[in-house]
Amino acid sequence: MPISNLEHELIQKCCDGNRTAYRKFYEFYAGELLAIAFRYMKTKQEAEDVVQETFIKAFKNLASFNKQASLKTWLVRIAINTALNTLRKQHNSQLWNVDEFEDIELSVLPLDNYNYAELVSFIQQLPVGCRSVFNLYAIEGYSHKEIADLLSISQGTSKSQYHRAKILLQKMIVSEETRTKLKIL
């Protein structure tokens, strides 16, 4: 999706060094990028570090941005890559450790009862490897092949991590629902 005229104008002003345009650009995307980064990182502080790095990279490379693509997609991709790089350096060898886990029958649980913060708190409890894969596959819409290329892992690893993430999330959600029901009773 090509960028809108408003985005085109904003990019042009940023490239000219207009400070107000930088601020508008930031205000327009910061909240959304922070929400995305927050799903990958453990804390808001870490997520803000990712977003800061994302904007700095974006402003540096704005002149070379391909205006035929979506600006938001471009920014999200930078944010995700930055988050994944940070996680890779933080966790390194532990990223793809798979502890034994109990396989259960998966079902599609309704998420309507939860706000964004609650859903993110579930995701953040996932081990870092399956958290990344879950975010990329279930939410960003990447394929297992794309994830495998992005994270330098096999498609099999991506699939197993995703499966594990789903099981863990289902357990968390069921447990939360049980707790809520008990409170009501």
Binding site: K44, E48, E53
Partner: protein
């Protein structure tokens, strides 16, 4: 094509936003400023402030001068120095004097023998004539000989205990070499640094240990001749200086490893009334100076500066506690210090240099380092930092005594991002 499960999640998080903190934009804006090079004035102010702070630091440490002996203007005698057969330092009569005796095998563990020392000493009643060797154009009439003394193994019997304890707790001066990354290790920046530092005092030091016996010997001689207030020794703090270069490599998101190479000078100021006559002429004599090199004379008081010069190789690991535009880090490591020489300088006499072996220092000493630092990114490539910390010796700097100096430190660093 994703299934119901994925669509469910996508729908649940779609369009979500989180309010960023105010600091986030400030940090981004600061980076924009750096890119545009608009904060040169901040750079100049930071450099000026840090340099001022660095040079003023030693002046704030205070002065803990002590007196080994009360000063006396009374002229006394000449003391000749020779090496004893067992390798220790021994003082003997000048040949021109009347008598030559030595006091042997005195030590602090043998009080009785030490107390009997005076029985072996010869009293000096008046100034001898023609006792000075003609080794320089210095005005020899100002020098007065001591008659006799023996330094080997002399204990503290002739010293005040408080003074003796002070000798073991004098001050020394150290700088912790310091290195700092420009930004998060995410970028894997290899950094080069230029370091300059100054400061601080030690709670215990070996700097003075080697000279203890000599001072005791001189004191012994003076005491024996009823000149208890003859030898004056006074030491006080002086500025230290460090300059060096280094590299730092991030090894994790907040961890980094650093090493470097630097020159370290530790200085102390002093007042003395003893000089040594060597082949090169009269040279200032501190309580560090080996006196097996020539005759020792008492004279009018003069000021001198002591300097221990080192090549220092620090290795340390750092952890970023706050990792923003202004960073706060803690570090720990070890420094290997190779002693170049020990120098004593006075306006009144010639400068003298001694090798570590001549003053019984270990040529290599290790120290543990713990420090904290705050840094500021000047621009895309340069960063400046202030640091403070503690340094504790892990190997003795003296060959004969277990002295492990410790100190507080302060310094500045200018860093350049290589890649």
């Amino acid at each position: 094509m994703k299934g119901l499960y994925e669509n469910n999640w996508q729908k649940a998080v779609e369009g979500a936003k989180i309010e960023p903190s105010a600091a986030l934009w400030n940090n981004i804006a600061s980076n924009l400023d750096m890119e545009k090079g608009r904060n040169y004035w901040v750079t100049l102010l930071m450099i000026a402030a840090t340099v001022t702070l660095a040079f003023s630091f030693p002046l704030t440490i205070g002065d803990s001068a002590f007196k080994l002996r009360q000063h006396s203007s009374q002229p006394v005698a000449q003391l000749d120095a020779v090496n004893s057969s067992n390798g220790g330092t021994s003082l003997a009569f000048n040949e021109n004097n009347v008598e030559n005796k030595s006091v042997s095998n005195l030590n602090s563990e043998n009080n009785k023998e030490a107390n009997s020392t005076q029985n072996h000493l010869i009293s000096l009643t008046e100034k001898p004539q023609n006792t000075l060797p003609a080794i320089s154009t210095h005005d020899d009439s100002n020098f007065y000989p001591i008659k006799e003394a023996k330094a080997q193994g002399v204990g503290f019997e002739f010293l005040n205990w408080d003074t003796a304890l002070q000798l073991a707790n004098l001050n020394s001066y150290y700088i912790i070499p310091y290195f700092m990354p420009l930004k998060k290790s995410e970028d894997r920046n290899l950094l080069a640094s230029l370091n300059m530092g100054t400061g601080s005092s030690s709670t215990s030091s070996g700097l003075f240990s080697n000279a203890t016996e000599r001072v005791e010997a001189m004191s012994l001689s003076a005491k024996s001749d009823n000149f208890s207030n003859v030898v004056e020794q006074s030491e006080s703090k002086g500025a230290a200086f460090y300059i060096g270069a280094g590299i730092e490599l991030p090894i994790g998101s907040r961890w980094s490893l650093l090493t470097g190479l630097g020159y370290l000078a530790q200085k102390a100021e002093g007042v003395n009334n003893v000089v040594i006559a060597t082949e090169k002429g009269y040279q200032p004599l501190s309580i560090y100076t080996p006196i097996g090199l020539g005759s020792v004379f008492l004279n009018e008081s003069y000021r001198y500066t002591l300097t221990n010069n080192y090549i220092s190789v620090p290795t340390a690991i750092k952890y970023s506690i706050i990792n923003r535009k202004v960073k706060f880090r803690a570090g720990a490591g070890i420094s290997t210090d190779f002693m170049l020489n020990h120098a004593i300088n006075s306006e009144s006499y010639q400068k003298a240099f001694y090798k570590p072996s001549e003053v019984d220092y270990n040529p290599i000493a290790l120290s543990g380092l713990v420090n904290f630092d705050v840094s500021y990114n000047i621009n895309k490539h340069y960063s400046i930092a202030l640091e403070t910390g503690v340094r504790k010796g892990v190997t003795p700097i003296d060959k004969n005594k277990d002295f492990y100096p410790s100190s507080f430190t302060g310094g500045i660093v200018l860093l350049y991002k290589i890649r």
